[in-house]
């Protein structure tokens, strides 16, 4: 950044220490210099990363925000923003499609996150007790999570297929008639929850397992001396200790589940009717199929606002609980 090529550390301090400068360490002046310069060098080295983040994250987000308020017209040679408007939000928030998508996305998120947390914790508790076999079991368990979402969805799509699907056949043997798994709203939603739980429980399990391994052994010893049974130990010792890490897992899952796109896209295309049309699918259809750019951006923005609010709310509730837990 500076044009001078003089070695930094040999030079006396030309700049004066500002009032906000922290107390200098021993050796005074030169250290203060290098502090300023170091900050500048720091910015210099960080600038490529900052520019990249701005280009790939900040700019698209802000641009999408702009589009959601814009009356956009596509023209030969590109597009033009004619005026700014709030109409898109009015149209989105008042539309039955959006309400339906919100309902599905919320339900899907709540059910899958809850199931994955319970099953993942259970799996982690089992894994923790496994000795030498843990590595192998973990590897097998992680397989679904390692699969690319679309591939996993396609795989389950074959299982659910109404004509030759393995699960369809199995249900037919048990029920005596051919079930229409993806063709009816309730079973289609259920089928989608199953795939997501199958795929993402390992993620929760591994996060919780990491948390379990961090709990110091002496707390358990203390609990044992106090005469706590297995259940009491789990509820009063393990779970409170796991809370922070579980919160992280849940937060991650809420973020992912709320943006669910690939499962409904591959399995049902949002059907039957619009029963499994998530907010992400609705946004995709609005933007890329209907070319309603402003409205599509408004769907995306409202989704982002809702998921961020949910996460903040969750963190607040969690923090309150953790504080209470600390006092108890």
């Amino acid at each position: 950044m500076t044009s001078s090529a003089t070695p930094v550390s040999r030079r006396p301090a030309p700049e004066q220490a500002g009032p906000r400068t922290a107390p200098a360490p021993r050796g005074g002046g030169p250290a203060r210099v290098s502090r300023r310069r170091r900050a500048r060098t720091g910015w210099f080295f960080a600038s490529p990363a900052l520019l990249t983040i701005t280009a790939v994250t900040v700019f698209p987000v802000l641009f999408s925000l702009l589009l959601s308020f814009a009356d956009v017209r596509l023209e030969y040679g590109g597009f033009r923003i004619l005026s700014l408007t709030g109409d898109h939000y009015a149209a989105v928030l008042s539309s039955p499609e959006w309400r339906q998508a919100l309902f599905f996305t919320f339900g899907f998120t709540a059910v899958t996150v809850l199931l994955e947390l319970v099953l993942g914790t259970a799996a982690a508790l089992v894994l923790e007790r496994l000795g030498a076999a843990r590595g192998w079991v973990l590897a097998v368990l992680l397989l679904p999570w390692a699969l690319i979402n679309v591939v996993a969805a396609q795989l389950w799509g074959y299982l659910y297929n109404g004509t030759y699907g393995g699960l369809t056949w199995l249900f037919q043997q048990i029920l005596g008639h051919q079930p229409d798994i993806l063709g009816q709203p309730a079973s289609a939603m259920g089928a989608m929850v199953v795939v997501d739980v199958w795929k993402t429980t390992p993620f929760v399990a591994i996060v919780v397992l990491a948390g379990l391994m961090l709990i110091p052994g002496d707390v358990y010893e203390a609990a044992e001396i106090d005469g706590a049974g297995t259940w009491t130990t789990f509820w009063k010792v393990t779970l409170p200790q796991l809370r922070p890490i579980m919160a992280i897992a849940v937060l991650f899952r809420i973020l992912q589940a709320f943006g669910i796109f690939d499962l409904p896209f591959v399995l049902t295309q949002g059907g039957p009717g619009t029963a499994t049309e998530s907010l992400a699918i609705l946004g995709y259809k609005t933007l890329f199929q209907n070319l309603a750019i402003g409205r599509g951006a408004a769907v995306a923005t409202t989704t982002a606002v809702i998921v961020i609010s949910c996460c903040l709310l969750f963190l607040r509730v969690f923090k309150t609980q953790a504080d209470e837990g600390g006092r108890a």
Partner: protein
């Protein structure tokens, strides 16, 4: 040095606004002047093309490209592989086009796209570049769907027509003729199903996608019930429309069509049929190639093709949705003249003959279907297509995707037994009205 959130927000918005103003607004006349001349200088075109079903093995798109390059040695055409379903294809190509990308120069698109693409300046209006008698060689329904507000946005390439495929052996075994009405088809299918000769009677496409809209449009046309009236307002009312919706429900209710049809796209229904599970199949003309191919079809040699039936008591028979694919020219192409030349070549006789001989699709140029070569190919859909009664979907609105969604979502509920035909029609009418006003999402 720290960037406050506000600064960041403001500068981002400013940058966005700056980027968008000034990049648009090329005058159409300039573009058309460029498009009117085939350049003498070398040019490379990109052609966005999905896989064209092949009859004999060679890649059909390559044959056409080679033929074009022989005529125009200085123009080179490169293939860009498009996706297979029309909806995902549209999403992919519009992303590029709306961003003013100069590639692809020419793209193969669905016949339902012209109004939407024309209204959004994603395709070049071509009518001024065409001779007056250009359309005389192509089906009238194809011309209707390619035009929007008097402008032509797509040049014909090939058509998809819907047929009724049936199991010759099963009909012969039970002494039944090929059904001429839906009521007759129901009876025949049930007889064969009860005898245990096939688990399913009639297979078609009922998933929430454009596939179902095609089926709905055909059933409605069978019952002579229009979706829109003469002034472009929603019609979709009365006994005809109810009859069409009620028939779709009757198929699934009686088990002649499996209830899983509610999730079927073309490939699912075709797989079930070629796997020997069904008596009848509604599918596009290209399905003949697969049904007759011993490598993929268990029922090869036992399949017949007929026009779709109609309803009892008169009305049209052999109705088919006017489906198919046409070439569009990207208005941002840097080689407009070459692009138009290529799109026109694809619609012309030489390319159409290549399609006739090598592709499992129906060439758009009707004249080539009467040639001796057409009969020599031995594909009954090629010779049968002229008897069909082609109907256009209500595509002449930039809001067609929303109209289509209204139709397929509501019809899907009828098929699954979640709504009565009357309820579904009422809901679909409301949805389509909202869509036509531009108020649907």
């Amino acid at each position: 040095m720290a960037l406050s959130r506000r600064t960041l927000l403001a500068s981002g918005l400013a940058a966005g606004a700056g980027l968008t103003s000034g990049c648009a607004g090329k005058p159409l006349d300039t573009l058309l002047t460029q498009a009117a001349q085939v350049p003498r200088t070398p040019a490379t075109l990109t052609w966005w093309v999905s896989e064209i079903p092949s009859r004999n093995g060679p890649v059909v798109a390559d044959l056409i490209i080679r033929a074009f390059e022989r005529r125009h040695p200085h123009i080179h055409v490169r293939k860009s592989n498009a996706l297979s379903t029309t909806d995902s294809n549209r999403a992919a190509v519009t992303t590029q086009l709306a961003g003013a990308s100069p590639t692809p120069d020419v793209y193969l698109g669905d016949t339902t796209w012209p109004a939407q693409f024309g209204a959004n300046s994603l395709a070049l209006p071509l009518q001024k570049l065409l001779p007056e008698d250009f359309w005389t060689g192509y089906p009238a329904a194809l011309r209707r769907v390619s035009e929007y507000r008097g402008a032509v946005y797509a040049l014909p390439f090939f058509t998809d027509s819907a047929f009724l495929y049936y199991r010759k052996d099963l009909l012969a075994k039970h002494g039944r003729p090929v059904p001429r009405t839906w009521e007759e088809l129901l009876r025949t299918a049930r007889t064969i199903q009860r005898a245990g000769d096939a688990p399913y009677g009639f297979l078609w496409q009922g998933s929430v996608s454009e596939s179902l809209t095609c089926n709905v449009a055909e059933f409605l046309a069978d019952a002579e019930a229009p979706v829109l009236d003469g002034e472009g307002r929603v019609a979709l009312n009365g006994p005809g429309a109810e009859r069409a919706f009620a028939m779709m429900r009757e198929f699934t209710e009686t088990g002649v069509t499996p209830s899983t049809v509610a999730t079927y796209v073309e490939a699912d229904s075709q797989d079930a049929f070629t796997g020997g599970r069904g008596v009848f199949l509604r599918n596009w003309s290209y399905a003949w190639g697969n049904a007759a191919d011993r490598a993929v079809s268990k029922v090869a040699g036992r399949v017949g093709v007929a026009p779709r039936p109609g309803f009892d008591g008169g009305g049209p028979r052999g109705v088919s949705c006017a489906g198919g694919w046409s070439n569009f020219v990207n208005p941002n192409s840097s080689h407009l003249g070459a692009a138009v030349a290529f799109a026109r070549f694809c619609a012309g006789e030489e390319a159409q003959m290549i399609l006739l001989k090598n592709a499992g699709v129906i060439p758009a140029l009707e004249d080539v279907l009467t040639r001796p070569e057409a009969r020599a190919v031995g594909d009954p859909t090629l010779t049968g297509v002229r008897e069909l009664h082609l109907v256009a979907r209500p595509v002449q609105t930039p809001y067609y995707p929303q109209v289509s969604k209204a139709l397929y979502t509501r019809a899907n509920a009828v098929i699954g037994g979640r709504a009565t035909p009357v309820q579904a029609l009422r809901a679909a009418r409301a949805d389509i009205r909202t869509a036509l006003e531009g108020k649907a999402l």
